[in-house]
Symmetry: C2
Subunit: 223 residues, 2 copies
């Protein structure tokens, strides 16, 4: 399946879009995580979220370098995706630290799934970049452990966080679909016609939802 693009112009425009949405997603995640960090219950927790935010920024820098190496302007590549990503964050403002933690966990794990899926269809250099920025297992594990501990301390959190996680996934899928449709992102993948791209998109959504459900069950939450 590793695509060596047979329509270079179309593939390059797909790549600019893919890297643009990744760059803006990472930059926004950095800002949101580090702002949310201030509401952590302890200084230790603030540093934990801060450290994750810094990793997001480093990912942004990796994607930016790649865009620049392709002779593309990072700002121009990100701009088309600003409305959807901002809209996602506006609609999912955490009410407290636990919701921030869950948001970080959902974004982390769902992005990793998306990246993994997309990596199958891109050139080797891009795949390598995606693997580099795929969420580090350790930071995901820290979030999961912190959520488990919080749920053990206060079982009343469970229903609120289960509902919140469901909303996060819903908003993420809605925005991903909007971005995909507006920018015909998947259609730019080599070897996929429009129908194949649509099939892949709905297959991906189902896969993301199933993985999410499995992870929520792992936390003892109803997905």
């Amino acid at each position: 399946m590793s695509a060596s693009p047979d329509d270079p112009a179309r593939y390059n425009s797909f790549l600019a879009d893919l890297l643009g949405v990744m760059a803006y997603g990472e930059l926004s995640a950095f800002e949101r995580l580090s702002s949310d960090a201030r509401y952590s219950p302890t200084l230790h927790d603030r540093a934990v979220l801060g450290r994750m935010a810094v990793v997001e920024f480093q990912h942004y820098e990796l994607v930016r370098s790649r865009l620049e190496a392709m002779g593309l302007d990072t700002e121009a590549a990100m701009l088309p995706f600003q409305p959807s990503v901002d809209h996602f964050h506006e609609r999912t403002r955490p009410a407290d630290w636990y919701e921030s933690l869950m948001k970080a966990y959902v974004i982390d794990t769902v992005s990793a799934d998306v990246y993994r899926a997309v990596a199958r269809y891109v050139d080797a250099g891009t795949r390598e970049l995606i693997e580099q920025i795929q969420s580090a297992e350790t930071s995901t594990a820290v979030l999961r452990d912190r959520l488990k501990a919080a749920l053990a301390d206060d079982p009343r959190l469970a229903s609120r966080l289960a509902l919140w996680a469901r909303r996060l996934l819903g908003e993420a899928l809605t925005q991903a679909q909007r971005v995909g449709i507006e920018h015909a992102l998947l259609g730019g993948l080599s070897g996929l016609d429009d129908d194949a791209a649509k099939d892949m998109a709905s297959g991906l959504a189902a896969e993301l939802a199933a993985n999410h459900a499995r992870r929520m069950a792992g936390l003892g939450l109803a997905a």
Copy 2:
């Protein structure tokens, strides 16, 4: 002047306080800068502030490592300084991006001055740490150039930013004095009795104000 501490217990408690206030200052600066970044006029500017925020977090990590190497708990070392630092930030919430930029510039340059002054009185290992985290000249230069460009674009900004910078310096000195008095920070320096510590503190305040005035003049602002 390089002090090899002759009262180790007193010196160590001074050092824990010094590193504690530095750690919390860096962690807070990271959070505030990265939250403020979202209000930048362009995505390019957002990334510039974000990059500075990341540097602050890396400084926090350096100080934390040092505290841990000394067998001290970072959270316990930071806690006494949380009220003063938070109070400073509460009283200096930027109203827009230009005020954020000026706040970053003032914090950057004034901290560098304070670190430079304190470095004269500490052991070699601590001095090395302080030199490592002293604000990188390049990031200060970026802020200065960005402020100059903003002032050239909109000369009406000058009086507002001059007033704002004066307030920032005033609040910073007030909090620094409070921290210094409450924790008898300077008194912990080897070879300084209480009167010498007070003299040093007022000498330092005068020096900080003079340097600040010179930098504001460099921006074409009245200090």
